[in-house]
């Protein structure tokens, strides 16, 4: 049994004179004890609604939420044993930073010395020791965000909810804090869910990532699995930087398998016995199918296809090469510099083992082989 269980959660916002908004649809999710989970998605995908339903600021339209086997969806926020850091910081303006953080401990009946020890420990963690006596309106947005984070982390709770916990921080500090917070959470076995739209942050901090879009949980898996075995077109195109190349191909039979052609010159041949029956059946029945290939899996400078370069960017540690291939745009990434200019022709290698095949409804029916 998981630490947190969400079962068939639906959330519909109704307001007079407007069509109802279905923010979260039939969400099922289970989070284990000590696990760190990221809710990842673009804005309006339902991730923050989900977080607020767990905290109790939004009611669930239907479905149940259980924390440590205890149903909490009908409880007042105060009784859910949940701590939260808010996106808008939400510090108490009349209290100093120290009082703001200590405030979260007041209801816990802790000795004064213990309280100040914990406040100072968490303040060191997020680097706000110097501003403990300041008032919220006198400190910067990034500092306020760290205070808000500290106020959540200092508490003893069954579950920690962090809404865009590091959105306002400078990149270097963000990287440092990510590491420290991950250590803290792991050391104390704290269970946490955080909302973010930043893939790097999700990958760096989370054990598992829940990708949401349009109120629907698309896939809930580790970062590796999301990359290598995306459940559908959305996850395939959302995860990874630069995004996966998605191409429409024509399907035809050839001896021993299928031929997926992007154009007259460029085609993949896949042996039938490398595919399972369902995929074979799908390919037999359709005339065209959508395939995906990661930019990192395209060989640049070698291979059988000759393509024209549209742009070539060296980013300091990798090259992004955009080419025209059979009338379509493809992006490739290589770790080395490519000595070619836009307009030049270059050799390209596309390995059929590296392609993902998507069914008509967008689900991925065949994943690339992991090499």
């Amino acid at each position: 049994m998981g630490m947190l269980e969400l079962r068939h959660i639906d959330k519909t916002y109704r307001s007079r004179g407007k069509p109802p908004v279905h923010a979260v649809r039939s969400l099922d999710m289970e989070v284990g004890k000590g696990e760190i989970v990221a809710l990842l998605g673009s804005s309006g995908c339902g991730k923050t609604s989900t977080l607020r339903m767990i905290a109790g600021f939004e009611s669930v339209t239907s479905g149940t939420i259980a924390l440590q086997g205890r149903r909490i969806d009908h409880l007042a926020p105060a009784r859910r044993k949940v701590a939260m850091a808010f996106e808008g910081y939400s510090l108490y303006p009349p209290l100093t930073v120290r009082e703001n953080i200590a405030f979260a401990l007041k209801s816990q009946q802790i000795a004064r010395s213990e309280m100040s020890r914990r406040v100072e420990a968490v303040a060191r963690l997020v680097e706000i020791e110097g501003i403990l006596e300041s008032f919220p309106r006198a400190i910067s947005g990034g500092q306020q965000q760290r205070v808000s984070l500290a106020r959540a982390l200092v508490r003893d709770a069954d579950l920690y909810l962090l809404d865009e916990p590091m959105g306002q921080l400078e990149p270097q500090l963000r990287a440092v804090l990510r590491g420290r917070i991950k250590n803290l959470l792991a050391e104390r076995g704290m269970t946490a869910i955080f909302v973010t739209h930043d893939q790097t942050e999700a990958s760096a901090l989370a054990d598992r990532i829940a990708v949401m879009e349009d109120g629907v949980l698309q896939q809930f898996a580790s970062e590796r699995e999301l990359k290598n075995q995306p459940a559908n077109l959305f996850v395939a195109s959302f995860i990874g930087e630069p995004p996966m190349n998605l191409l429409e191909t024509d399907v035809s039979r050839c001896d021993g398998g299928f031929r997926l052609s992007m154009s007259r010159e460029v085609a993949f041949e896949i042996r039938g016995d490398a595919l399972d029956r369902v995929v074979q059946k799908t390919l037999e029945e359709t005339a065209s199918v959508r395939i995906g290939i990661r930019p990192q899996k395209i060989a640049v400078g070698t291979g059988e296809v000759r393509v024209r370069i549209l742009s070539n960017q060296w980013l300091g540690d990798q090259s992004h090469v955009a080419v025209e291939c059979g009338g379509k745009l493809l992006i490739a990434v290589t770790p080395s510099r490519v000595a070619a200019r836009p307009g030049d022709n270059i050799q390209f290698g596309l390995d059929p083992r590296h392609i993902h095949i998507f069914g008509a409804d967008g689900t991925c029916i065949r994943h690339a082989e992991v090499s």
Binding site: F57, A76, P77, A78, E87, G88, Y89, S90, Y92, S107
Partner: protein
């Protein structure tokens, strides 16, 4: 701040002085009048220099109005007390009812919410004279005519919409997440209201209370019809200075000074809260 050139500064000074004179003149003139006798006030041309007299204030405070036609009993000080009691009770009642209502309107969207809020505001649109006749008939039937309860009830309807709409705006300016954070830390909804929302909206509540106090204090028509001599506020009581032997300008001026004093002092005292209230937006975020 840039203070501009010398010419600019002189112009600004002159303009400010003119504006000050324009707005302060009636008040200063009334103040001067309150220290003059009727004869001094009415002579032509009027003079700035005169021998001040406290006779007007004496008459008001002692309640003896000496006119050419003889002595007249007035109850100005009692009227002042009435004004104070009626206005403050009405404002307190309106705060007790209005602040939680304003919070509800600001935080929760419920059926007919906007309609109810607007209906309450629409009490302010209706001309009082239109409401007076049915109101006084009902009041006579209910036995509320000429009672403090009845007048406070009507005054409260003046104060409530103001408080409701002003305070609602202040509550809407406070991020609900501040209360959410408080509630997550183990406090009830009611505690979040009394410990977080109300203190944060404090300046706004003070401003609204002050404004509605002044509105109640200045009310004339309702009190004129619904209250008899011993329940009258100053606004109605001042009519007593229009006597058979003429209008007692000196006493009227003194009465105005005395009746403006409480609201003026209150406004001066509450000034910093009002300014704080206006800059509340800085707290957000």
């Amino acid at each position: 701040m840039d203070h501009g050139s010398l010419a600019g500064r002189i112009f600004r000074g002159v303009a400010l002085a003119l504006i000050l004179v324009f707005f302060m003149f009636p008040i200063v003139w009334i103040l001067l009048m309150s220290f003059q006798t009727n004869e001094q006030i009415l002579r032509i041309p009027p003079r700035i220099l005169f021998e001040p007299t406290l006779a007007n204030y004496e008459a008001l405070i002692s309640g003896q109005l000496r006119t050419a036609a003889g002595n007249l009993e007035i109850s100005f000080m009692h009227n002042l007390w009435n004004s104070f009691v009626l206005s403050s009770l009405a404002v307190v009642l309106a705060l007790v009812l209005g602040v939680p209502a304003a919070y509800a309107f600001a935080r929760y969207k419920f059926k007919l919410g906007e309609t109810i809020a607007f209906t309450l505001l629409s009490f302010r649109f209706a001309p009082p004279l239109l409401v007076l006749l049915p109101l006084s008939l009902y009041y006579q039937e209910l036995g509320l005519n000429d009672t403090y309860v009845g007048i406070v009830w009507v005054y409260q309807l003046i104060a409530l919409p103001l408080i409701l709409w002003i305070v609602r705006g202040y509550f809407e300016d406070i991020s609900p997440d501040i209360e959410h954070a408080y509630r997550l830390a183990g406090h009830s909804w009611r505690e979040a209201f009394t410990h977080i929302a109300v203190p944060l909206a404090g300046p706004g509540i003070a401003a609204a209370a002050l404004l509605s106090f002044i509105f109640c204090w200045n009310n004339f028509v309702f009190a004129l019809i619904l209250a008899s001599a011993d329940k009258q506020p100053v606004t109605v009581g001042a009519l007593a200075f229009v006597t058979a032997s003429g209008i007692q300008y000196g006493q009227i001026a003194a009465a105005i000074v005395l009746s403006v004093m409480p609201t003026l002092l209150l406004a001066l005292y509450a000034q910093r809260y009002l300014v704080e209230g206006l800059s509340l937006g800085a707290v957000k975020g």
